[in-house]
Amino acid sequence: MKAAVFAVVLMPLVVQAAEPRVVVDSATGVVMVRHLAGMLDAPEVTRNLDSGLTNGFVIQASVHREREAAARGAARVDIRWELWDEVYLVDVVAFDGHVTHLKLASKDDLASWWSSAAFPVLSGRGLAAEGSAVVKLVVTFVPFSQSEVEAARRWVTQSGEETGSARNGPNQPEGRSSSAVVNLVVATSIVRRAILRREWTVKLETGGGG
């Protein structure tokens, strides 16, 4: 009986608590996706994650204000279990082409990092100031067989160079490099057949750095 009450009354609250958050960093203006818990332990993911080959998550966000799309962006997370060193090698590719390399020693470390990491998906300067907005968030898991990591790496190389020049040029519109990167993400990852897909619609929040 208690279990039934828990299932009916409390589970929706648990599910609600497990929803990711999308926050505009008030200092940098970057839109971050946080608290993506609950995907790493899906059977489709666990079956592939320890294959020793690279699997990828693609995080896509589109900000809507008054039912109209105001901005969109994406990030990609590549994960490979290195069998001999027994570490998870993680590459987080941000919307602007910036790559963060991580080594995580165990699945628990990976799960802990995953649930607390903030993934930068787009430059949202001005989005928070313009009033309430909602974000449609889509996270897909693309297994090794469907992804094209080398194409993605080439994309990273090229977009990194492009982003660098954009950063150096004071008159370069800020959104240009990120849209180029997003287009390349679309070209390499999003078109691949995902074997796991989660969607949320959440409020866009404003928060501090970190």
Partner: protein
């Protein structure tokens, strides 16, 4: 003139610079990619295709190092095996540090299989090529898929592994219409494919089919030799023979009683192929490029009605050379497009008796040259949401639009013919572990101009 040359020089330098930077970027990216030294290869889930067949088709060899893209291309090659519908790779530790065991898990088709082709076709236009019996030699039959109205082909059969690297099959097929007034629609088929010939990854396949009354026979021989990566060389010999008694026709006195009308077709193709498609039936990524030499030999009864008083056979031979390519692009996980085209050059001759401009012409020999250019675009959409790790059930809507322009040059006394063709095909294709079913509507329009 000097300005033009200067512009060309600057453009060339610009192109070289782009190439150098592009190659350097690609090289830098490649240096970053992990490679895996494969100590051994283990195959799981293979019963129809043996582990040896899967290993041979992968073209991966123990002792070599491969990048992830190299492994992914090997996956695609395995997936193109006719008895494999899905494949997955994983690595395990080898016996020494830095070496790996590659585990290939395959999902195979069922042992019993079916095939369904239900095509409703419509066409209009075209006459001169067929009146000269050139349409068959130029592979330009005015009726799509060999039928001018509809075609129903149902087949079922069983596959059986034979030895360490062979697969045999037996099938029964029913086809309506048969293409003959007197023939039985049922045919029996036997086939055998030997993989990994001489340990090289090459294959050869033979197929023999016969209608239940013995009037029609088909025979096919195919061999493929992998060259390197996605490059391979293919030889295909395809024959067809049909014997009919003229007495079978409704008005036998218009033919010589007891005369046998014999149809014989032989096609031989030698093809260089670069195939990086991700799927043999529903490709959404990769490309297929081919350079082929064809030889076609025909011995046909007059293509006109059986009441034609002059039942003189037409025999012809043609050599052709074809360059073709198709590129596939996904634009989301459910949809993809493809585009492609090809150029063919023909040279041939035939002897026969032709009906042209209201009279019969009896040439001893007719020489001809021809060229065709074709272009194609297609769209494919998955009807079922593409989730799940294996592709056991796949239903797609496919639409193709293709256009062709052809020109033939004939001996003096015969007209040169230009023809334009437009084909539109749309339909559903279902694939599962037991087979493939295709339902399609096809429309063909062909116009011919005599010069």
């Amino acid at each position: 003139m000097i300005r033009f040359m200067k512009n060309m020089l600057m453009r060339s330098l610009g192109l070289i610079w782009v190439l150098v930077v592009g190659l350097a970027a690609a090289g830098a990216a490649a240096a970053d990619t992990p490679t895996f030294r494969i100590e051994s290869i283990r195959v799981e889930g293979a019963s129809l295709a043996s582990a040896r067949v899967v290993r041979a088709e992968s073209l991966l060899a123990p002792g070599h190092s491969y990048s992830e893209d190299g492994l992914r291309l090997a996956m695609r090659r395995i997936r193109r095996l006719p008895v494999v519908i899905d494949v997955d790779f994983r690595l395990e530790r080898g016996s020494e540090r830095g070496t790996y065991v590659l585990v290939i898990r395959v999902v195979e088709t069922a042992r019993f299989f079916y095939g369904v082709d239900l095509l409703a076709a419509a066409s209009h236009g075209g006459w001169v090529l067929s009146s000269l019996d050139l349409d068959d030699l130029l592979d330009e039959s005015s009726c799509p898929e060999g039928s001018c109205d509809s075609l129903k082909v149902l087949s079922t059969g069983v596959r059986q592994p034979v030895g360490a690297a062979g697969i045999g099959w037996a099938a029964i097929q029913a086809r309506y219409p048969t293409g003959s007034l007197s023939d039985n629609p049922t045919a029996f088929e036997l086939g055998y494919t030997q993989y990994d010939l001489f340990g090289t990854g090459a294959f050869s396949s033979a197929r023999l089919a016969m209608s239940s009354n013995g009037q029609r026979k088909w025979y096919t021989f195919e061999a493929g030799i992998p060259i390197r990566g996605n490059h391979s060389l293919r030889l295909l010999v395809d024959g067809y023979q049909q014997n009919e008694d003229a007495v079978a026709y409704l008005v036998p006195d218009l033919n010589e009683l007891g005369d046998t009308r014999r149809t014989r077709r032989l096609d031989a193709t030698l093809e260089w192929r670069i195939d990086s498609r991700d799927d043999p039936l529903f490709p959404s990524d990769g490309h297929l490029l081919t350079a082929a030499v064809h030889f076609r030999d025909r011995d046909l009864p007059r293509s006109g009605s059986p009441f034609d008083p002059g039942s003189v056979n037409t025999s012809g031979r043609v050599m052709s050379f074809e360059l073709a390519g198709t590129w596939y692009h996904p634009f989301d996980p459910r949809q993809s497009i493809w585009w492609g085209g090809g150029v063919s050059l023909y040279r041939g001759d035939q002897t026969g008796r032709y009906f042209y401009e209201g009279r019969y012409i009896d040439p001893t020999e007719l020489h001809f040259d021809a060229a065709t250019v074709r272009a194609e675009v297609g769209y494919q959409r998955s009807i079922w949401r593409p989730t799940g790790s294996t592709r056991l059930n796949d239903l797609r809507w496919q639409t193709t639009l293709s256009g062709l322009f052809g020109q033939s040059w004939l001996d003096e006394g015969f007209p040169d013919i230009q023809w334009r063709r437009l084909d539109l095909s749309t339909g559903l294709v279902l694939r599962n572990r037991w087979g493939v079913a295709r339902f399609a509507l096809i429309y063909r329009s062909r116009t011919e101009t005599v010069r």
